[in-house]
Structures are given as C-alpha cells and as structure tokens.
C-alpha cells in the first residue's frame, strides 16, 4: 500500500511539473503583454520596455522558468558578492531583500537626489542611511556597483559622465530614476516556498492566493458537506425503491436540477431571494477577510447554486449503483439468511453501493474548487477560479502558475484520496 501511495505522489509531482511547463509555454504564446497591462493603455513604448526589463521578462524563457521554479538568489549572490536574505515586513503581506554584510548588518541601496544612498539595518533593527562611496572601476575606467535596491532587484549602477549617478533610484516599488543599466528581480523559487510577485497586485502571490484558496475551499467545503449527504441519501432511497413513485420523483428532480446550467440557476436565485424577497444578499461582498465567517448569509446562495447542479448528478449515480447492488447475489444470500430488511440495506448493501459514488465524488472536489468560476463570477465571490481567470487575462504568469499548481495538487490529491478510500471500502482491491 505504501509503495502505491509513493508511486502516486511521485506521479503527482510529475504532473505538476508537466503542467507548469505547459502553462509557461502556452502563456508565452498567447497574445497580450503584462507590462502594458500594468502601465495602462497610455504608457509610452519606452516605459513598457523598461518595465519589462525590470520585471526580468526580457530574459530567455528557460531562464525565467528556472528562476520561477528554483529561484535565482543563489546565482545573483555572486554578482553582489554578499549573501542575499528575504525579510518579511511585519504587519504587511510583503517582504524585502537585503544583502548581508559579514558583520550581520543588512544593506540596501537606493538612488536619491544627492546620489546613491546605502541603507544599513543593524541586527538590533537600528536603521541608518549614508552616502555610498564604494564604487568599483571596470576595465574601461567606468565606476560601477552591483547592489540590492528596495524593490527586490539586484541592480547594476553606473556613474555616468555627468558625475551624477545614473541608475534606478527605485525607492519602494517605484522606479523614480529608471535609467538603471541591468535589473534582476530576486526570487527564491516555488520549490523553496516563494511563488514570486504577482504583477497584478505587485505583492507576493502567496498571501493573496492563500486567501482566495481559503474562500474557495470554504465555499466548496460547505457545498461538499451539504451536497454529498443529501445526494447520497436521495440516491440510496431511489435505488432501494426502484420503480416506485418515490424513485420516479427523485430521479425527475435530480434530472431537472442537473440540466439547468449553474449560471442560469445562480442568476434566478439572486432574482428571487435577493431582489424580490430581499432575504439574502445578492452578491458575496467581503468588506474584510473574516467576512465568510462573520456573515454566513453571504454563502447561502452560492452554495445553493452549487448544490442544485451537483445533487442531481451524484444522486443519479448513487441510485444506479444502489439498484445494481440490491440485485447482487450476496444480497440474495442475506435475504435467504432471513435478515431484517434495514440490516441488509445498511450492513450489506450500503457499503458496496457507496464504493462507486464516493470515488466519483472525490473527483468532484477538483471541479468544485477550480471549476466553479462561473458561480464565483455570478456572485462576485473572490474565489480561486476567478483569481485564475483574472490572472490569465492579465497574463500575470506567477499568479497563473501558483494557481495552476494548487489546482493540480488538489485534483491529483483528490484522485489519490479517492483511490485510497476505494481500497478501504473494497477489500478485494489491494494495491501493490
């Protein structure tokens, strides 16, 4: 069993790797330029080019891919000559890069009016700024220096002829004097926990994605907890009373609900409950992070929309499986053993009948989290689906990759869980 799980986990990593490459290639091919999306339609071509350079988008595809995957801080260290360290800014979902001097003080440089300034932060947090004078001289006599700016780039500054330092005084995230010579955004790479900066929010992808994932999981989770029991019960009842009026009504109900597309049913629910009856909020508005917990009413309609579509599908499947099991020979044996009806149903039939539906239900986890982008868009619910859709439209490659990785992990993960549950329920299958 362990060997099987190991093999499947290995496969999961392989799939994620393949998907990440596919996403990188396809988004390279797809039209649209993220720098222009950031700067807006009124940016001049030079500005767009400069921003592309600063975001490291002008580097060859494979370099960018490996930067994303395993990071480039270990490579850039050689340029700066000092180890680089990423420090989280307390209280804000952001982080800064520093070069670490031998004595432990953290260094950053930024271009100001009076020239290149060195920021020193001693281990005990005391921060000083002093004019920089450690310029190096290259072969043709030009003064240059490789340092770390405040916007997380390793930058090459050069002293121009006009005596005034030329280079990006990139204070904060902005590029005040954006005439730097070379830029490399520093990253630790996904495998070392840093999915990179989202171009859309200019913040690390991690926290935003986590919030979106939590929203989606809470929606999917509640929907899952609501849908599955109802659907299973309905399916079992219909399967037991095959052909009876109860079976026919349940089948018809589940057939109708699965046939109405979720975007149509979602809109109708808003019309009825939010507009006419004014009972429930029509949109999932999150004034702050804790909204879904404080105001559960926000989730009722989205969950209801999801439930409508899902219940029918799962119920129909459970019904078929239940009906099949009830005609199985071992159930006949149970009857012939004179066991009471409900004992036969619960002890003998249910266990085998639930094997098929449960495994398929797990495959729905993947759909629930990623595929419900339509429900998210109808209710403006800030979930993972919308996040991926917006990022893809914006060509925010770091966000797309991180989102895709989460989804693939969920998909393959749920497939694996489905198989494991399958083995517990069905002792005949012993995976080697």
């Amino acid at each position: 069993m362990a060997r099987y799980i190991l093999r499947r986990l290995g496969f999961m990593l392989l799939t994620m790797f393949l998907v990440s490459i596919a996403v990188f290639l396809i988004s390279e091919v797809a039209p649209g330029d993220v720098a222009r999306h950031i700067l807006g339609q009124f940016a001049t071509p030079e500005q767009v080019e400069l921003l592309r350079d600063q975001m490291g988008l002008d580097e060859p595809l494979y370099v960018r891919y490996f930067d994303w995957l395993i990071g480039n801080d270990w490579r850039l260290r050689r340029l700066v000559g000092m180890p680089l360290k990423q420090v989280l800014i307390p209280g804000r979902a952001d982080a800064e890069w520093y070069a670490i001097a031998p004595d432990g003080t953290m260094l950053q440089w930024k271009m100001k009016q009076e020239g290149l300034v060195e920021i020193r932060v001693t281990p005990d947090g005391e921060r000083t700024e002093v004019l920089f004078d450690g310029w190096l001289v290259d072969e043709n006599g030009e003064e240059y220096f490789w340092g770390v700016d405040t916007a997380g780039h390793v930058v090459l500054w050069k002293k121009g002829e006009a005596g005034r330092e030329v280079g990006p005084a990139s204070a904060g995230r902005a590029m005040i004097e954006a005439s730097g010579v070379e830029y490399y955004p520093i990253r630790r790479g996904l495998l070392r926990g840093d999915p990179g900066i989202s171009f859309r929010t200019n913040r690390p992808v991690g926290p935003t994605l986590a919030r979106r994932l939590r929203n989606s999981l809470s929606l999917a989770g509640i929907a899952f907890v609501v849908i599955m029991p109802i659907a299973l019960v309905l399916g079992v009842l219909a399967g037991l009373r095959e052909g009876s009026p109860l079976d026919r009504t349940i089948s018809l109900f589940s057939l109708i609900t699965t046939s109405v597309p979720e975007f149509a049913s979602g809109v109708f629910l808003i019309l009825v409950f939010a507009f006419w009856l004014k009972v429930l909020p029509g949109a999932a508005v999150f004034p702050d992070d804790t909204a879904p917990l404080q105001n559960p009413k926000l989730l009722i309609l989205p969950v209801l929309t999801l439930t409508l579509v899902e219940v029918g599908y799962v119920a129909r499947m459970t019904r078929a499986s239940m009906a099949e099991v009830m005609n199985a020979p071992y159930i006949r044996t149970a009857f012939l053993k004179g066991l009471p009806y409900w004992r036969i149903v619960f002890k003998h039939a249910l266990r085998n009948a639930l094997i098929a539906p449960i495994t398929v239900i797990m495959l729905h986890v993947n759909w629930l989290v990623g595929g419900i982008v339509v429900v998210e868009s109808v209710f403006g619910y800030p979930g993972l689906g919308m996040y991926l859709l917006d990022s893809a439209l914006f060509k925010d490659i770091n966000a797309i990759e991180a989102g895709a990785m989460v989804m693939v992990a969920l998909a393959v993960g749920s497939q694996l869980v489905a198989d494991i549950i399958y083995t517990f329920l069905n002792p005949r299958i012993r995976y080697t």
Binding site: Y330, K337, G338, R351
Partner: protein
C-alpha cells in the same frame, strides 16, 4: 442422536416438506409466462431428494419458490407448500423471514458470489445466530468456529477474520454450507452447490453433505444437472423437463429402470466411466428445450421423443403411478421401461464398426520438449529483491502422433490451459521447445508465418464468449477462409454453408446473430470456424464442459466425425474424466504444472495408477447409485504454483506415501523418476512399479459389464 436412516419416505411421519402441484409464473416483456407447472413431491426427515434437469427446466425456480424469493416479477400461481404441516404459500413476509435462515436454509450455485465481498467471513456467519437466536457476539463466533471445524475447514479461527476473496472456491463453499447449518435447519435447499468446484473438491463436499445429514438429520433438497452427483447424494430423485416433473422415484429405481423417455435419453447420452469411442456410441437427444412461452400442446417432451405417438401431441399425460413410489408422466411408461433395459444393456456390446481409432503408428505431428511457462508476479513487500515467479507449466514433454487425440486431464490451476495457449502461441515460452510438422513453434503467434498459423486452430470453453456478439455467424466463419485465403473469394459463401451443413446446421444460420443461438449451436459454429481452413491440429480447451448433458453428446460426436473426415489431430483438455475416457486415444494427467502420468486411455483407467490419477478416478461421480467406488480423498488444498512443494509435487497430499520406507521421506526430497509400465504408458512416482500394479481398480470391473 444418529437415528437409523428412515429409508425411503417412511409414510407415518409428517414429511418435513410436502409440495402439491405447485405452479410459478414470471411476467416478462412477452407477458405472463408459467415457468413451473404442477410440481409435487415430499421430503422426509434426514432424507435427500435429488432434482435433476437441464438448464432452463425450472429447478432453481422451484427452490426459490419454496422460500417465496421470486424477485419482483415472479409469483406462485397455485399449489401448496407444506413445511412441517403448515402451508407457506400466502404467509406474510415477516413470518417467512423468521423461517428463512432458521428453519429453512439455502445454499446455491456460485460460491464466489454468495458471500459479501466487503465483510469478514466471521461477521457474515455470526449474523445468522445473532439475528435468529439473539445470541451475543462472542458466543456466536464460538459456535461458528466449531461449525467450521465440522466442515473440515483448516485453521477456522483465522478464516473468520479473512475476506471471501482470500479463500479458494472449495473453502468458500464450505463456509456457505456451515453458515446454512448454524441454526440446525429442518430443511436444507442446495442449488448446484458443487458445480463450479474441481472434481476432488466436489467429492469432498458431497461426502461432507452426507456426513452432516446423518448428524443433523436435516431434509435436503439437492438440485443438479449432473447425473453422477445426483446418484451419489440422493435417496429419491425427481427428473424435471421444461417446467414439469416427468419422473419421480427412488434413486436406484430411476437409474436402473428409467421409465420416461427423457430420463432414458439422459442416461444414454452420458458417457459411463468404462465406455470408449471404439466400442460405444453416445445417443444425443435431438432438438432443443422449448422456450417457456412457446410450449408444445401435448406432452412437453413430444417433439424430442423417440417413442412419441400421435396422441402424445394432443393430450398432456398426467403423472401416473408405475410402482410404489415411482411416478411417470408418460402414456407408454411401461413400454419405455422395458425398451430402456435392452438399450442400456446394448451400450456395453462391442460395436466394431463405430470409431476405428488410428491404430498403426504414424509419424508424430507435434513434439513438446521440456516446455516451461513462468509468470512474474509483483513482489508482496515494498523493496523485496527476489522476483516471485508462478511456474504455471514446469518442464512438460510429450509427442502427439498424426490423426490421434491426446487428452489432457487435471484440476484447475494444473497448467493445462496455459500449455495449450503456449502451443498456439498466445503465451510466451520461458524454456524448452516445441516442434509442429518440422517447424519450430516456440515463438509467439505474432512471429509465426501465416501457413503455420493456419494449421493450428482452437475451440474454446464458454459458448457465450466464443463468438463475437456483433457479427453474424456467416461473417465469423468466413473470416478464417478470407484470412488464410483457403477458398477463392467468390466461393467463400458456399464453403461457409457447406461447413454449416457439416455441423448439422442449415443455411438459415448464415445471417443469424450469436445471441439468437443456443449454447450447443454456438459451440458448433465455433468448431466450424476452427476447422474452416483445414488445420492439421485442433486444440480443444474444455469444449463441452459448459454445455448441457444432452447437447454435450451431440458436440462430441461432431468432433469425432470431423476427425474421421478431415484426419485432424486433436488435443482435448477437460476435467471430466468420463468424457476424456470416451473421446481420447491417449491421456496425460497433469498436476501443478507437470505431467504425472501419460499413456493410452485404457492403461490410464486401469491399475497401475499414479496415486493422483487414482484419487481423481475415485472422485468421479458415477451415474449409478449401485456402483461401488473406492473412497480415496485428498487431504489439504492445492498448493500455490508460486513456490511448488520440493521433490514430488504431490507429496503434500499423496495418500500412498506410507507405502514407501520411512513415510515417503524420499518424495519430499527427490523429484520422482519416470517409470515405464509399457512402451507408451509411464508414471512419475517413487513407488516401485510392481507395488503400483498391485493397486485395486477404483471402479470394479463387473459394474462395467453388468449393464
């Protein structure tokens, strides 16, 4: 409390079960169909009633009718079922439920399906006691373990915790039987309990049933299509045909004085152990079993009856009393009875002209030299080094002369099918070599050239799976003709029709689909397909074992005709020794991947035997209750081919080991040598030949000639 067995149907006592003209019908798409009509019989305490009949004759319907478990569309139309005096028909579901599993227990056909795959054996058994006796769990489990011991189940405590799929077929059947007997039922209904089992396991189960009946004094209704099994188990026998009981009498009476044409027909189409193709002829019953919704007006057997007279077609014969306890549903019962006697006697006369086996030595067409077929099986533990291997066929050598038939006999798992599939090229040889008409055929079929492939064809076991359901009969027979270009394009259709006629099927079958054919007809088409391109060698993998007895005879005769007419050599695989004895010239007995005895048919069936052959012969059910058959039972279960026992593979179960010094230690250590009884007859055993020659015949001679 082993009371003396009350003999046949003692009248004074109230019978456990008494059924009076029971009629059951199903409503199907074609409307209401009566599957069973006016069936009556009774079973006394400690008495076994055998119900015999071919598939579709309604015997299972009767069984389910008694416990009123007829599914949604079945219904008891009329008649009474008196269980210990009270009528079950019309009783409420609640009352019936209390009876089932407590007073009336049922065991039915396929043991693999009968147990719930997801529950442990212990839970499924204890349940019966807990529900009916309100017994506490541990006490119930204790009772189950004791019951498992009674059914000779090895290591019962461990079995309780295992799941059904971890037990062999035989073991599962024992569990089902034990479960049925837990509440000491008054009536035990068994529907073909041993059909799916190997002959040695079947023999053990049948013995078990007899012992338990004596001990618990239960009334048993035993249903089977195998005459031999019925003969061994039943005190009284009822023969059913197309939903009706055609003859009912004591066991000896039925077998020695069959008085209904159908019963007689059954007797004459089943090969007796001693018969062989040279001296006797199988009499198949012509025609087909009529479908329940289109029954003939008069006597239901009339269309297939050799004694039929015009009035048989008009009036339906009642069940007439011939002698005390012997009832027959035929107007001319006594005439049938007397004619029957000479027909049965005739069976033993040597009819010279029937099938002259190829006597003079011809050149060998197929030689197999030390053939080995191994499968690698994924290792149990995570990182274990050694790659476990199943040695399905482990060093088999033999040769087959042209136009003769070699029979290969052995229980399931002995490797006979694998061997055949290796010969035709579907399995890769792991060692040794094979030669056919001078060509090396140890390579798989994909690597053989077309002409070589044309010359070896195969007939398969399961008639329902041997033909492709999506194509017409004509297309499937024509395929080999087209593939091997055996016949010019334009004459393919005529050739197919000729082949159909050869198989005694008229041209109308050309456009039919497999689902419109009966089992027997499908098998004939399969044979037509196999011989279409005139192969030199035809391999038959259990061609008749899935057919009804009456149809079996017709197919066997067909194969013999084909061999005579086309001169094809045949390899015949089977587990039914009487059929093999009848059909084959030479016979090889296989056990766990090796041939343990090989020789001409008559040499195999007479001492000296290899101990395994002897056990096989003693387990074969003989359709004659009076026949004495030495009881030799094998202990333990078939070892796994994963790591076969050292030395002689049979030593773990061999009943004859004590004939050798110090308990047959040599059998465990050294692989046995080949000992030649005659030039063709050889036995693989350590026991010296003289000692083997002194063995008693398993089936005494005089039974064979008495007739």
């Amino acid at each position: 409390m082993a009371t003396e067995r009350p003999g046949v149907g003692s009248p004074r006592e109230v019978p456990i079960l008494r059924v009076e003209n029971l009629a059951i019908s199903y409503e199907t798409r074609y409307g209401e169909v009566t599957a069973v009509r006016d069936v009556s019989f009774e079973i006394g305490r400690g008495e076994t009633l055998g119900i015999v009949g071919e598939s579709g004759c309604g015997k299972s319907t009767v069984a389910f009718g008694i416990v009123n478990f007829l599914g949604r569309n079945g219904r008891i139309v009329s008649g009474r079922i008196l269980f210990q005096g009270q009528d079950l028909v019309g009783r409420s579901e609640r009352e019936l439920r209390r009876l089932r599993g407590d007073r009336i227990a049922m065991v039915y056909q396929d043991p693999m399906q009968a147990l719930n795959p997801s529950l442990r054996i212990g839970d499924q058994m204890a349940e019966v006691l807990i529900v009916h006796r309100r017994m506490k769990k541990d006490e119930a489990e204790e009772r189950c373990i004791r019951m498992l011991e009674r059914v000779y189940m090895p290591d019962p405590a461990n079995v309780m915790r295992r799941y059904p799929h971890q037990l062999s077929g035989g073991q599962q059947q024992r569990v089902v039987i034990a479960m049925a007997l837990l509440n000491d039922p008054a009536l035990l209904i068994m529907d073909e309990p041993s059909t799916a089992l190997d002959v040695t396991v079947e023999a053990a189960v049948l013995d078990l049933i007899n012992d338990l009946q004596e001990e618990f004094d239960t009334a048993i209704m035993y249903i089977s299509h195998n005459l031999g099994v019925i003969a061994r188990v039943s005190d009284k026998v009822a023969v059913m045909y197309a939903g009706e009981v055609v003859e009912r009498a004591a066991a000896e009476e039925i077998f020695l004085h069959p008085s209904h044409p159908y019963t007689l027909g059954l007797m004459r189409c089943v090969p007796r152990l001693g018969m062989e193709k040279a001296s006797s002829y199988l009499h198949p019953i012509r025609g087909r079993v009529p479908p329940p919704n289109r029954l003939p007006p008069g006597c239901v057997f009339e269309p297939r009856c050799d004694f039929a007279r015009p009035e048989c077609a008009e009036r339906r014969p009642p069940l007439k009393r011939l002698t005390d306890g012997h009832w027959v549903r035929c107007f001319f019962a006594d005439e049938v009875a007397s004619k029957g006697q000479e027909a049965l006697a005739a069976r033993w006369r040597k009819e010279a002209t029937v099938h002259e086996p190829q006597r003079e030595p011809t050149e060998t067409i197929l030689t197999v030299q030390d053939a080995r077929v191994y499968y690698s099986v994924p290792a149990r533990r995570l990182f274990s080094r050694e790659k476990p291997v199943v040695k399905a066929v482990d060093g088999v050598s033999f040769h087959v002369p042209k136009q003769r038939t070699l029979g290969i006999v052995g229980e399931s798992g002995c490797g006979k099918s694998t061997l055949v599939r290796a010969i035709i090229g579907l399995e890769k040889l792991s060692g040794g070599g094979m030669e056919f008409m001078g060509f090396d055929i140890s390579v798989p079929v994909s690597k053989r050239d077309l002409d070589l492939i044309r010359n070896i064809q195969m007939v398969f076991q399961n008639p329902d799976a041997t033909l492709n359901p999506s194509f017409t009969v004509g297309f499937q027979i024509a395929r080999p003709l087209r593939r091997f270009r055996a016949v010019p394009k334009d004459r393919v259709k005529d050739e197919v029709i000729r082949l159909l006629n050869l198989m005694k099927l008229d041209a109308s079958y050309y456009d039919r689909l497999p689902r419109q054919l009966s089992g027997g007809e499908k098998q004939r088409v399969a044979i037509a397909r196999a011989i279409a391109a005139r192969p030199e060698l035809v391999l038959c993998d259990e061609p008749v074992s899935a057919l009804d007895v009456s149809v079996q005879a017709a197919v066997l005769n067909l194969l013999l005709e084909v061999q005579r007419e086309l001169g094809t050599t045949m390899l015949f695989i089977a587990h039914d020794l009487s059929v093999v004895r009848f059909f084959c010239d030479d016979i090889a007995v296989m056990y766990l991947g090796q041939i343990v005895e090989i020789g001409p048919a008559e040499a195999i069936y007479a001492p000296p035997y290899h101990p395994y052959t002897e056990a096989l012969l003693s387990a074969v059910p003989i359709p004659d209750p009076t026949a004495e058959q030495r009881q030799i039972r094998l202990s333990g279960s078939v070892p796994s081919a994963l790591n076969p026992p050292s030395g002689c593979r049979f030593h773990t179960r061999c009943p004859r080991r004590e004939w050798l010094p110090d308990g047959g230690r040599i059998c465990e250590v050294e692989p046995p040598p080949w000992q030649a009884d005659t030039e063709e007859h050889r036995i693989l055993c350590h026991i010296p030949l003289e000692q083997l020659r002194r063995m008693e015949a398993v089936v005494s001679e005089e039974v064979r000639d008495a007739g």
